[in-house]
């Protein structure tokens, strides 16, 4: 469903980052995605593959770390990761006191770039010739 629009944004961020590093080949994109966002990993990867054809990000791995929604009881301090459907009943003190927070993260955490394409402006390789991948 809306994985397309979100994946488009991920690809834009990824390619912009690759551009800033001389169109370096993208090895891996690491995402943090909350369990309440409704995003399906497989759909996201499907669109990512389609949208990165013939770009420096073609073939890149997409690693998805899930940010959990946490239910906490203000009464007894019980805390645990939860998935919908939610239950307000605290399993520890047996009162309807659970409150849920988190699970809404939607972040590109880090991008891993290959270092086989060096660029003139890269401070680690000032003496290497510029390399422009096809």
């Amino acid at each position: 469903m809306h994985e397309f629009s979100i994946t488009q944004s991920i690809v834009d961020i990824t390619l912009e980052t690759a551009r800033q590093h001389g169109d370096a080949r993208v090895v891996e994109v690491q995402l943090v995605i909350g369990t309440l966002t409704g995003i399906v990993d497989d759909s996201l990867r499907f669109y990512f593959e389609a949208l990165t054809q013939s770009t420096p990000a073609e073939g890149a791995r997409v690693a998805i770390e899930r940010e959990e929604a946490i239910a906490t009881c203000a009464r007894c301090g019980y805390s645990a990761a939860v998935e919908p459907p939610f239950d307000a009943l605290c399993p520890q003190c047996l009162e309807l006191t659970l409150k849920v927070e988190g699970g809404n993260a939607l972040t590109v955490q880090r991008i891993l770039l290959a270092e086989d394409s060096q660029l003139v402006s890269d401070p680690d390789s000032a003496s290497s010739p510029a390399h422009h991948p096809v």
Binding site: H21, F86, Q109, L112, E115
Partner: protein, 224 residues
């Protein structure tokens, strides 16, 4: 291998446009509301009942969002309320750039409260900021009281929750307390308004809340 640390929100471009929309609304003293619910929950009906309510005392404007047709926009235009229709042609939610375009079709100087009726959907709209001041999430009595439990993502981002079609509750097995508990579970602070657009029951509290939200806007901008 080179590691580039970003911690960048995926929707940052959408959020930037949303911030620009918020700025545009604020400069005109407009309270923007993002109305989100399942198809058929009664969003359009409530917008009409609210805009035409004698106690509102605010000028209304509407941005309608649907996959197709002008059905909702026409119903609102028939009441001589400024309205513009967005057709997403298959898109399941509104995004900030669509709102930015729609704002240029409205007489912003003649509007105090802007109702943005999002596409009928309890999943996707939750992720996309539009630049509105408040998210209003609807449940309707015929849908059942378990929806806040099943769709926590959208109920968690609500600034207020409206339960519509309350006049049908006597004919249904709808448990209002269970509904309220479900909302509290992911959103302890959101007020819940139980009302019927058709009979008018419960509309008073909803209208009062809207007026208070608009008044708070005036205070905030005067404080700048």
């Amino acid at each position: 291998m080179k590691t580039v640390e970003l911690a960048k929100p995926i929707l940052s471009r959408n959020d930037q446009i949303a911030a620009a929309n918020a700025q545009a609304l604020q400069s005109h003293g407009i309270l923007g509301l993002n109305m989100m619910a399942s198809p058929g929950a009664g969003k359009t009906r409530l917008i009409l009942a609210t805009a035409l309510h004698p106690g509102l005392g605010l000028r209304s404007g509407v941005i309608e969002g649907d996959l197709a047709t002008r059905i909702d926009a026409d119903a609102i235009a028939a009441q001589r309320i400024p309205v513009t229709q967005i057709n997403t042609d298959g898109g399941c939610h509104l995004e900030a750039d669509m709102i930015a375009n729609a704002l240029s079709d409205l007489p912003l100087d003649e509007i105090d409260v802007l109702f943005v009726e999002n596409v009928g959907n309890l999943v996707c709209p939750a992720n996309f900021l539009l630049g509105t001041n408040a998210n209003i999430v609807f449940g309707s009595a015929p849908e059942g009281h378990d929806k806040p439990y099943k769709y926590p993502g959208i109920y968690a981002v609500a600034d207020a929750v409206v339960l519509t079609k309350a006049d049908l509750i006597p004919h249904l097995e709808f448990d209002v307390d269970a509904f309220r508990s479900g909302v509290r579970l992911v959103n302890p602070g959101a007020p819940v308004f139980v009302l019927s657009s058709r009979t008018g029951e419960g509309m008073g509290a909803w209208i009062d809340w809207l007026r208070a939200q608009h008044a708070a806007l005036d205070q905030a901008s005067n404080a700048d």
